[in-house]
Symmetry: C2
Subunit: 284 residues, 2 copies
């Protein structure tokens, strides 16, 4: 591998962590942030060799990672295009892929959608850490039109981060993450919203005091960043609605068993649940 | 406090941990288990000074903790009665209180319902650990008929475990834990059950690979012991059904916002959720 130049646009937790790792693997990293202060921190923290608030020097980059929030990926790609040299490969880290891959590929065919399944509770460049992606799934979502060489190049870089690479189509990705990421977010938020409907203040005060690890864990993702929740609902709306509809049907079945005092039926469901959960990769 | 004799019936995680702590605080602990081997382990592990498979020596106990599963507390209490001296105080650690407190109080008025909000993922006497209750909520559920001296005595012992004592009626307890313990269990189980309904095997395989901390935490309590899940549904049926019904209404509201693409509405809900979650004691 020759000495390669990587540009990272958006220097938050993900962009910053990618920068730290790629620099330590010998890549030259050029960072872009909309905030001058973030650029200075990026260089100081070792996230990037250089950083700037403008996109004009992108022609030198072999690969550009767009690590901005979901809502701005498409517009950043459009602004980038005039600055790219024809061979530049573009990739992103957005958590929904179909509504990104289609428009971005149409303005820049050399685009490979990506989604690292990694993160921490923190955000921003100060939260960037080395080896964030080691052992974590990193999904690439090429389409039939994506140049094979571009996919291979992005995969090579992602492997160098220590991630486990999965390839699938954008639609398959979005359906899978609707189940394991976006549905949990909504059902977890619904739990907190439902508790807040308890009309007796003494009961809810008591519940707040008694809340233990079960409530803490089940409500965690629902208590996260509201903007992020809206973004995934907006971008992955159809898959999320399908998952939510199935969830509601299953909820009705649990309620029916309890209403009917069908304890063998409920136990059977809970046994299947206990068993099914073991099939998930829960070490991530 | 004079040298007091405590009996513990049921030497699992909770009974065993209570025994370890009470012995270290200078109480004489007599353990009872239905299995001879558990009795031997209880003495070897320092959970009890003595242990036996029969209830006949209970007359010497000042306080008896019933630490068996929810389904056997009432029948154990009935078997105990002939062996108790008139002043003996009975308490339990069952996670639902109304269906325990009423029948047990009627056979033994000197009964104080209790529920420590503590546990680990493990069970059985080998899982017993010292200081399991330190800083944890421990609810006592006296009724208007419960002798005041009995409540004071149980509270004194529970405080010696380091727990934070809360007092409320059995019905208030059951409504509060329906929200923060039994509802999360069912909605978490429903999440796993819903994912299992995905008809495309490739999608669900991918989802299983990509599952990360969000799915792990949100599905955890739903993947637990099926017998325990059935037991809480059975014993706390009415409160759980009320909570589930409210949950379903809230779920429908989230779904409506997403269907209608009402993103300000969804964001408002998620902001309220994020805010409301902060009112819960999440350090337990």
């Amino acid at each position: 591998m020759s000495f390669q130049k990587i540009a990272i646009i958006g220097l938050g937790l993900l962009g910053g962590s990618i920068g730290l790792d790629l620099r330590s693997r010998g890549f030259a990293v050029f960072g872009v942030s909309s905030r001058e202060q973030t650029c200075q921190r990026a260089v100081a923290l070792g996230v990037a060799n250089e950083a700037s608030i403008n996109l004009s020097s992108m022609a030198a980059a072999d690969v550009v990672f767009i690590c901005t929030p979901l809502g701005s990926i498409e517009s950043i790609a459009q602004k980038l295009v005039p600055h790219l040299s024809p061979d530049t490969i573009l990739t992103d880290v957005g958590s929904v892929k179909t509504p990104i891959v289609q428009p971005v590929s149409s303005v820049w065919p050399n685009f490979v959608g990506g989604h690292p399944m990694a993160g921490t509770a923190e955000s921003g460049i100060e939260a960037a850490v080395p080896d964030l992606f080691v052992g974590r799934p990193y999904v690439l979502t090429p389409t039939a039109q994506t140049p094979v060489a571009a996919v291979a190049k992005v995969e090579e870089i992602v492997r160098s981060l220590g991630a486990k690479v999965y390839r699938c189509g954008p639609e398959e990705h979005d359906r899978a993450v609707a189940w394991i990421s976006h549905l949990p977010l909504m059902t977890s938020a619904t739990l907190v919203a439902a508790c807040a409907k308890e009309g007796d203040r003494d009961i809810i005060k008591l519940a707040q005091h008694l809340a233990s690890s079960g409530f803490r864990d089940t409500s965690r993702v629902g208590g996260g960043n509201p903007e992020l929740g809206v973004m995934v609902a907006k971008y992955n709306r159809m898959s999320l609605l399908r998952s939510l509809s199935t969830y509601r049907d299953c909820l009705d079945e649990f309620i029916s068993d309890i209403e009917a005092e069908d304890w063998p039926g409920l136990e059977q469901k809970l046994k299947l649940t206990q068993e099914a959960r073991r099939s998930y990769n829960l070490s991530n």
